[in-house]
Every structure is written in structure tokens, then in C-alpha cells.
């Protein structure tokens, strides 16, 4: 047993972290929010950046080398998605990774693939104006649509960088042959990895602020009331990290369900506590704290809700399906 990152995995994580720090720093995140607000609905993604990410191998992670991919596995995909979550990188990233082999041009970033869960109520499709093609995943079958083929109703998304549309009944698209259970499991795992990264971001932001902000003549991070919030944030991160990484190793669907549940708790809980540590500043639009919280809410609703996850786990408990 060696449940630690390998040298290569550590290098991959550092590489992705540096790439995103250079290509999608906080200034660019803020600029993206401002640009989207100015434009109203419509595309939000920077296609140039999307192609750059593809060029760095972002979307060909799971493709075999023979198909032009890097031939890496779920462990590496999880590390990359964690860093994307930490940078609050917007876009249908899960679709990008999981549909790289299914949608033409998705692996190279020339075209953007979307993925939509038809079992949710209401059925929400993220980045409708950015996607060139979308796969709609039902309970046991999936269908493929070209952009514009789907009937949608506008929804004003709570997350300024994740536009949403509500899917209306419409024509059934071309069947997309896929193992739906596996696709859902992988989507939940990669979403959980982004939540883990979001939780790390919130922790780092809270600690940085608590060290610098002074009240009563001392950094607020020296007060136990603040310190203990930060300590609990770290605990959430470490527990979620173990769960998500282990799920990427075993691929066990019950373990993935647990990882998603705990990563959702870490992301939403940490963003809330980060806001609290920031005080009034945290409640403003200018501070980025709200962006992490809203993205965490969005992802928590995607691919597995708390109710679905806990029911799956409860069922497994009586089936004698135990991870340990």
C-alpha cells in the first residue's frame, strides 16, 4: 500500500497549478465576471483559453495514447480537476474530459462539449451558449444534440460564470451509446474533485485574510473563534481529499458517492466559513468569496444531490457493501 501521490502525480499537480496561475489568475477571473455581466446572456468562455487548456492536455487526459490522448487515468484526472476547482476555472470541464473521445474537436478544444443530467428537476444545462454539442444523460440512456437543437428557457444563474438554461421537452436526439452508470459515476467523481479544489481555495483565502486583517490590535487569526473556523476548514479538506483520491483509485461507485457527499460538504462549508472570516467584506460583490460559494452550490446540485448520495450509501450499508 502506498496511498500518496507519486512523483509524476506531484509534478502534474504543480504543473497544472502553475499553468492556471499564469493563464487564469484572479484578475482574469474578475474580468470574466465583469465581461459576462456587461454582455448579458451569451457565451462566457474564452475559446482561446479553452484551446490552450486542451493543448496542455486538459481534455485528452483519459484518452488512450493511440487516440491522441495522454493515456493517464482517473487519478490524474482528479488532480487536474482539483486544480481547476481551486482556480474557479469556469466551463463544462467534466464534459470536456469525459466526452473528449465522443465529440469531434472536444479533445483539441476546437469545439466545446456539454453534458446535462436529465434526471434532475428542473433539468439545467450549463453554458448553453458556449456548447457546440451536448449529451443529455437520462436514467439509463443518453442522447446527443447539436447546439440549437434543444428547446430551452432562460434561467438567471446564481453563479455569474456558469450560465444556465432550463431544458424543455423537445425532439429526442440521436442515441449516444454509453455505459450510463459509469458516465454518471465519473461525472460525480470529477465534480467532487473540483469541489475539493474549491474547498482548498476557500481555506487558503480565509487563512490569508485572517493573518492580515487586524482588529483589537491583533490579526484576527490569533483569536480562537476565528482560528477554530479555519482549523475545521482544513479538517474538511483533508477528509474530502482522502475520500476523493481513494475513489479515483478504486472506482467503486459507493465510494464515489461518499466522496462526492464529503467534497460537497467541504466546498460549501468552507466557502461559508471563508465568507464569515471575511466579515462584511465577504458579503460584497468585489470580494471573490461569493464566487466560490456559488460555484460550490452549483456543483453540489450536479450529478449527485445530498439526498441521492446518502440514500445510495444507506442502501449499500444494508447490502453489506462496505468500503473497508
Amino acid at each position: 500500500m502506498d496511498f500518496q501521490l507519486s512523483e509524476d502525480q506531484r509534478a502534474l499537480r504543480t504543473g497544472v497549478r502553475e499553468l492556471l496561475a499564469g493563464r487564469f489568475p484572479t484578475e482574469r477571473l474578475r474580468a470574466a465576471v465583469a465581461a459576462y455581466e456587461a454582455a448579458g446572456d451569451g457565451p462566457v468562455l474564452d475559446r482561446g483559453l479553452w484551446r490552450e487548456l486542451a493543448g496542455a492536455g486538459f481534455f485528452s487526459l483519459l484518452l488512450p495514447e493511440a487516440a491522441g490522448g495522454t493515456g493517464l487515468g482517473p487519478q490524474e484526472a482528479v488532480l487536474v480537476m482539483e486544480e481547476a476547482g481551486r482556480a474557479l476555472l469556469p466551463g463544462p470541464l467534466v464534459a470536456g474530459v469525459l466526452l473528449a473521445g465522443a465529440v469531434d474537436g472536444a479533445a483539441t478544444g476546437e469545439r466545446i462539449a456539454g453534458l446535462c443530467d436529465a434526471t434532475a428537476a428542473p433539468v439545467l444545462w450549463d453554458h448553453p451558449a458556449d456548447c457546440d454539442e451536448v449529451i443529455v444523460v437520462g436514467a439509463d440512456a443518453a442522447h446527443r444534440y447539436a447546439a440549437g437543437e434543444l428547446r430551452t428557457a432562460a434561467v438567471r444563474s446564481v453563479d455569474p460564470l456558469t450560465p444556465l438554461a432550463r431544458l424543455l421537452d423537445g425532439p429526442s436526439g440521436a442515441p449516444y451509446a454509453v455505459d450510463v452508470g459509469r458516465l454518471r459515476r465519473d461525472a460525480a467523481l470529477l465534480t467532487a474533485a473540483q469541489q475539493l479544489g474549491g474547498a482548498v481555495r476557500a481555506l487558503e483565502a480565509a487563512v490569508a485574510y485572517a493573518r492580515q486583517r487586524e482588529q483589537f490590535g491583533a490579526p484576527i487569526g490569533s483569536f480562537q473563534a476565528v482560528k477554530h473556523l479555519c482549523a475545521e476548514m482544513l479538517v474538511r479538506v483533508e477528509v474530502a481529499r482522502s475520500a476523493v483520491y481513494a475513489a479515483s483509485v478504486t472506482g467503486d461507485p459507493v465510494e464515489v458517492a461518499g466522496a462526492k457527499l464529503l467534497a460537497d460538504e467541504a466546498a460549501t462549508g468552507n466557502a461559508r466559513d471563508c465568507l464569515q472570516v471575511h466579515g462584511g467584506t465577504g458579503f460584497t460583490w468585489e470580494a471573490d468569496v461569493h464566487l466560490a460559494l456559488k460555484r460550490a452550490w452549483l456543483r453540489a446540485a450536479a450529478w449527485q444531490t445530498v439526498a441521492d448520495g446518502t440514500e445510495t450509501l444507506a442502501e449499500a450499508l444494508t447490502d453489506g457493501h462496505i468500503v473497508l
Binding site: 502525480q9 493573518r211 477554530h228 483509485v249 468500503v323
Partner: protein, 384 residues
């Protein structure tokens, strides 16, 4: 990241399983909870069996009489013994997990030869004299004093929360040898024989009704200077060296046991109809995720220890914070499953619910653990 065990680790597991299945049926019945001499005899007999089979001091260094096992082998040992229902370390706890390793790390050759073999063979029991009435979370405030008199220290004061004091042969004792020095620099570590004149043990009853620990009063107890481990006034460092040897294995057996309890809760809830309550059912589902993650975190910490030769004690703080809370949640859920049955103090889960209340207090309260995590991992400034 690799969660599979090596062939060597698997053969270690297989040998251990075979041995456990052979010896466990031959164990005498467990003594009653209040029968302390019986418990001592039972726990030390088990330790002797481990010793004879080559499993004693598994995680101790080989030059201290241990087996020098890797952290992963230690994890496997704790996992398998718990699964098989083998006895817990019990009365051997302090000797095997703290006093022994301290002597191994800091003692002289004579001290190691005197104290380590009897611990491994299950011949001598140790207890811990650290906390005091006015020194709990703030351990360095301890006041029990030791005054030099020739080749002896004359020790007076009182110690609190001392488990197994009634049946122990030795006490690892922290005393103040220099009241004028800064708090952490006037403390020494002594091995005190529990049969020395001047020691009075008063058992303390816990809220569960049992007497799990005691108050120990020391009235001019004479302890040979030769029983001091480490230099005079260096006892704080001597003690902390061992505490920082945590290898991530502290709660392995308990996490395995919690999984088993959780599965039993689900079965019971199915049987008595409470499973139909979605709130309770989902609560149990969430706990399944929680304990699965705690198991993975254990494997993560053990792997880190194996790679780096030792987990910083603070990694243990993160685990303990989450685990102690999860254990309390587990038994609160058990009460929910039992309904009015949760008022029957003789029910195993009810007794365990009561004892779970100590988990967020013992061995460093959750509040102290959060300070440690915030200051030593996150680098937040010290304060109040």
C-alpha cells in the same frame, strides 16, 4: 496512489489471521468490567501470547526488543486483531504506546534493559501521571514537585485521570524539579514504582458509572534519581518526543469497529422499522461515507509515515478532531435506532454512547486540537 497491499504485506496478514484463528478460541472468558485484577490478568496474558508468537512491540524499533514493523504492517495488525475480535491492548496501553517508546527513545542502556522487556512480555503494567487538578489542557502548569534528597527525589502532589492506577506496577510521572525555571524547562520525567510508600489511589467514577481512571495522591514518595529518564528539567521534551511518534495508527481498530457497529445499526433499523424514516436512514448513509473516509485518511497518514519515517503529530490532530466527533454522531444515531431502548443503560450501544462523550476531551480536547491545527499547520499566529 496504490491501495493494494504488497505480497509481503498480504503474507504478513495471512500469517496473522491463521494465528488469530488458532489462538482466539482458547482465550478464557473476558472478566467483568469492574474486576480490575481480572482485567489485568487477562490483558497481560494476551500480551504474553503476542510476545510468544512474535507480535509484541510490533511497532517498536528492533534495538528496543520490538519487531521494527512498518507502519503498514502495524495497520494490518490492528485491523486484523479488531476484525477477529482479539483483546484490546487494555492495561498494556501506557507501557506499549507511551512509557515504553519514551524509554526506548530517551533511556539509558540500563533503563531500557530494566523496563522494556517486562512491558513486551506482559509482566509489568504502566500508568500515566501527567494531568493534575490544575493542569489539564495546560499540562505545563503541573505543580507536583520533586525535591532532590541524595540519590532520591521526594515527590509530593496529585495526579488525575490515571487509567489502570490500581493495577499498575509503574507510573510515568511528570514532576516539577525546578520551580524557578520557565514552565516547560523545570519538568522531569520519572518512573515511579506504584508500590512505593506515600501513594494513595482513589478511583474516580465516570459518568458511565464505571471506574476507568483514578486520582493519585503523592505524599513524600521517594523515587530513585536513577529512575529519571533524560536530563533533569528536560522532561517536557522527553515526553513530547514520543507523542510526536504518532504514525497514524492510533484509532485503526476503533474505525474498523465503528464500521461494524454502523452495519449493525442499519440491520437493526431494518428490523424494527425505523429504516423507513428517511432522516435517520440518510443520517446512517452519511456516517457510512464518514467512516469510509476516515479509513482512507488512516491509510493516507500511514502511507505518509511509511514514506517519511514519521507522521508529524499534527496529522493525528486532524484525524482525531473528525473521528471523535464522528464517533459521537454514530452513537447518537444508535440511540435514534434504539428508540426508548436507548434508555437501557445495560445495552452495549448505550454504554458506548456514554463513553463516546470522552472522545472530544481525552488526549487533548477538540479545542486544543484546533489550536494545534491552526497554529502548526495553517501558521496562524498564537493568541488567546
Amino acid at each position: 496512489m496504490d491501495l493494494t497491499y504488497t505480497a509481503e504485506e498480504e503474507s504478513f496478514r495471512a500469517r496473522l489471521r491463521a494465528w488469530l484463528s488458532e489462538v482466539l478460541p482458547k482465550l478464557p472468558p473476558k472478566p467483568a468490567a469492574a474486576d480490575w485484577p481480572g482485567r489485568r490478568a487477562y490483558d497481560t496474558a494476551w500480551q504474553r501470547m503476542l510476545y510468544d508468537a512474535g507480535y509484541a512491540g510490533l511497532h517498536w524499533p528492533a534495538d528496543a526488543g520490538g519487531r521494527g514493523a512498518t507502519p503498514t504492517q502495524h495497520l494490518i495488525f490492528l485491523e486484523e486483531t479488531e476484525r477477529a475480535g482479539a483483546p484490546y491492548v487494555g492495561a498494556n496501553f501506557v507501557g506499549l504506546l507511551h512509557a515504553g517508546p519514551t524509554v526506548a527513545a530517551e533511556g539509558t542502556a540500563e533503563q531500557r534493559a530494566r523496563w522494556l522487556p517486562p512491558i513486551l512480555r506482559g509482566e509489568e503494567i504502566w500508568c500515566q501521571g501527567f494531568s493534575e487538578p490544575a493542569a489539564g489542557s495546560d499540562l505545563a502548569a503541573l505543580r507536583t514537585k520533586a525535591v532532590r534528597d541524595g540519590d532520591f527525589y521526594v515527590v509530593s502532589g496529585s495526579k488525575l485521570w490515571t487509567s489502570h492506577a490500581e493495577v499498575a506496577d509503574w507510573c510515568e510521572l511528570l514532576v516539577r524539579t525546578n520551580p524557578g525555571a520557565p514552565r516547560h524547562r523545570g519538568i522531569s520525567w520519572l518512573a515511579m514504582p506504584m508500590d512505593a510508600p506515600g501513594i494513595t489511589v482513589r478511583p474516580l467514577r465516570t459518568l458511565a458509572g464505571s471506574t476507568e481512571f483514578a486520582e493519585v495522591f503523592l505524599d513524600e514518595v521517594r523515587v530513585p534519581v536513577a529512575n529519571r529518564v533524560g536530563a533533569e528539567n528536560d522532561g517536557w521534551r522527553v515526553t513530547m518526543v514520543t507523542l510526536s511518534f504518532e504514525r497514524g495508527t492510533a484509532f485503526v481498530g476503533e474505525v474498523v469497529a465503528c464500521h461494524r457497529v454502523l452495519a449493525a445499526l442499519a440491520r437493526t433499523a431494518r428490523g424494527n422499522g425505523r429504516w423507513d424514516d428517511a432522516v435517520l436512514r440518510r443520517r446512517l448513509g452519511r456516517l457510512a461515507a464518514e467512516f469510509a473516509a476516515l479509513w482512507r485518511l488512516t491509510q493516507w497518514n500511514v502511507s505518509a509515515a511509511q514514506a517519511g519515517g514519521g507522521v508529524p503529530g499534527v496529522g493525528g490532530s486532524v484525524f482525531k478532531l473528525r473521528y471523535s466527533h464522528a464517533r459521537q454522531e454514530l452513537y447518537d444515531a444508535a440511540a435514534e435506532v434504539l428508540g426508548a431502548g436507548a434508555l437501557d443503560a445495560d445495552h452495549e450501544w448505550v454504554a458506548d454512547r456514554l463513553s463516546s462523550l470522552s472522545y472530544t476531551i481525552a488526549a487533548g480536547t477538540s479545542q486544543i486540537q484546533r489550536n494545534i491545527v491552526a497554529e502548526r499547520i495553517l501558521g496562524l499566529p498564537k493568541g488567546r
